[in-house]
């Protein structure tokens, strides 16, 4: 294990009453990296993240988060990580500013509350009770609370579930800004475009195991999977699967095929992903 890595996991397992939710995961996340854990509901994403956050005990394997075993990490370690949980409903009667200030007071070197609220775009809502916020705004409060302690490593568990598309894009900008500042980010999501937009690297989790790992561009052999060329010729739909479409396209030009109907497609991340988790079913 190199101490450069923010997260190092070897053979991680978690068993609940005889059911294996996590069945031997290996992971490494480098410092400064944005890493996405992708997978369907029940794949073991949240369990894995909660073990790394120190919220759950692992049943087996090795884990190091910022060089510390998360099962025994103390206060100084917790001051260096930030956690954005799924489904919290606390502090509904406090205002945004009150709650952010309160959490800031728990850390040794917090960011200024106003600055964090500005960063998540809630300045106009800072005096509103958290109860009165929309789901997306609430989630941004969660992020504000996750980053107010100036964490080196931020855990985001399905941060944009229930967001409308505009809110999701705004949120992505925020995550990119944090990554630019050098924060390491471990993100779980079941939105592929989210992983594609944000992650430097990603792993696909299905049924408690990692079934593929890579960059958004090369996951599951996507970059070498070839292309599908489709067109119409003499009123008939034609298509051909080729590894390099150049030659076929040249031939079509020469043949005078109807190129207004031409499409060249590579497998999308979604195709690759469905393929990967489908293979596990």
């Amino acid at each position: 294990m190199t101490c450069m890595d923010a997260i190092e996991v070897r053979g991680l397992r978690k068993t609940y009453r005889g059911h294996e939710a996590v069945r031997g995961i290996d992971l490494s996340v480098a410092r400064g990296e944005v890493f996405a854990l992708l997978g369907p509901n029940g794949a073991g994403k949240t369990t894995t993240v909660e073990i790394l956050e120190g919220h759950r005990r692992r049943s087996g394997g090795e884990a190091r988060v910022l060089g510390v075993d998360p099962g025994t990490g103390g206060r100084a370690w917790r001051a260096r990580i930030g956690v954005v949980l799924q489904d919290t409903d606390d502090a509904a009667d406090l205002t945004v500013t009150e709650m952010v200030r309160h959490l800031a007071g728990l850390y040794p070197d917090p960011r200024a509350a106003d600055e964090v609220i500005e960063l998540v775009g809630l300045t106009e809502k800072r005096s509103s009770k958290i109860r009165s916020l929309s789901g997306g705004q609430r989630r941004r409060v969660d992020v504000a609370l996750g980053i107010v302690g100036r964490p080196e490593l931020l855990f985001l568990d399905e941060p944009t579930t229930g967001f409308d598309p505009a809110a999701r894009r705004q949120f992505w900008d925020l995550i990119r800004a944090l990554a630019t500042e050098g924060t390491t980010i471990l993100l779980t999501t079941h939105y592929l475009e989210e992983a594609e937009a944000l992650a430097d690297r990603l792993a696909v989790l299905a049924d408690g195991r990692i079934v593929a790992e890579g960059t958004p561009a090369n996951l599951g052999g996507r970059s070498v999977a070839g292309a599908k060329v489709s067109w119409r010729q003499d009123g008939v739909a034609r298509s051909e699967q080729v590894s390099d479409p150049t030659e076929l396209l040249r031939k079509l030009l020469d043949d005078g095929a109807d190129l207004t109907t031409l499409t060249v497609t590579r497998p999308t991340l979604e195709d690759t992903y469905l393929n990967l988790i489908g293979a596990q079913r």
Binding site: R17, T88, D90, A92, M99, Y107, P108
Partner: protein, 267 residues
């Protein structure tokens, strides 16, 4: 690296936030806070004067005894239900992701409970004095009131923390906490006094729990000395009261340390 904030400072900061949230939640405010006062008004009015031979009215006895109920309901219920709620709505999970200590969190809850109990006791004494003509005691009795009050609040709060470990869902918290609460009111001389009307074995059972000693102590504080003949031992038994409540503080603290957990138990 800058030092982590102290447990005491973060505990106070929790206390402030807890109080703020409690005051803004009107339902909690009315039900935990006004309920004992309402019961006192009802009991005091229904059972007007039954102890005329002693010159003390039943409503005055209720005013004194009800302070034990007030503390029990603010400390035990606020703590027990509050912890169950915090476990369910994510408060504890959120805090566990930060460098806060469990002691600071519980300190914050204790600050809330202490503030509520002081206010509750003040309301009950006020009702007793203004409506039922309960005379205010002298300084030495107030001193007893001070230690009795503190021991009662601490013992009840710690037991509330311990019992919250048995509460799986916040929506059942009220029902679960009310069982010991109501049972103890009836057997501890709060609702039914003189306590000697109860079967001997029931008084023995009650004597193992704090409420009997709390209500007896508050009757010592607010009633004339002659009323001690109506107590189970015919005495005020202040020393024994301090001992039992002190023991409950220790037992409660031990239970609390063993049972407190940040998240639901891993299934």
């Amino acid at each position: 690296m800058t030092a982590l904030p102290s447990t005491f400072a973060t505990g106070l900061s929790r206390g402030r936030v807890e109080l703020l949230m409690f005051l803004r939640d009107r339902t909690a405010l009315i039900f935990t806070f006004a309920f004992p006062a309402m019961l006192l008004l009802l009991f005091g009015t229904i059972f007007g004067d039954s102890y005329d031979q002693t010159g003390v009215s039943a409503s005055q006895v209720y005013s004194a005894s009800m302070i034990a109920y007030g503390i029990l309901s603010t400390a035990f219920v606020t703590m027990g239900a509050g912890l169950a709620m915090d476990r369910e709505d994510g408060t504890l999970k959120r805090l566990h992701g930060t460098p806060i200590t469990a002691t600071a969190y519980l300190l914050g809850k204790t600050a809330l409970v202490l503030a509520l109990s002081v206010a509750e006791a003040a309301v009950l004494v006020l009702v007793g004095v203004l409506i039922f003509d309960m005379p205010l005691p002298d300084a030495s009795h107030w001193l007893t009131f001070a230690w009795l009050f503190l021991l009662s609040v601490i013992a009840c709060s710690l037991c509330g923390v311990a019992v919250s470990a048995l509460v799986r869902h916040a929506r059942t918290a009220g029902a679960i906490l009310n069982v010991p609460l109501v049972a103890l009111q009836f057997i501890s001389g709060v609702f039914i006094h003189p306590i000697t009307q109860l079967p001997g074995w029931l008084i023995t059972v009650a004597s193992f729990f704090p409420v009997k000693w709390m209500s007896q102590g508050f009757r010592y504080v607010f009633l004339p000395d002659s009323m001690k003949t109506l107590e189970a031992a015919g005495q005020w038994e202040l020393g024994r009261t301090a001992l039992v409540l002190g023991a409950w503080c220790v037992v409660g603290l031990a239970l609390c340390l063993v049972t407190f957990r940040w998240t639901e138990r891993d299934r």
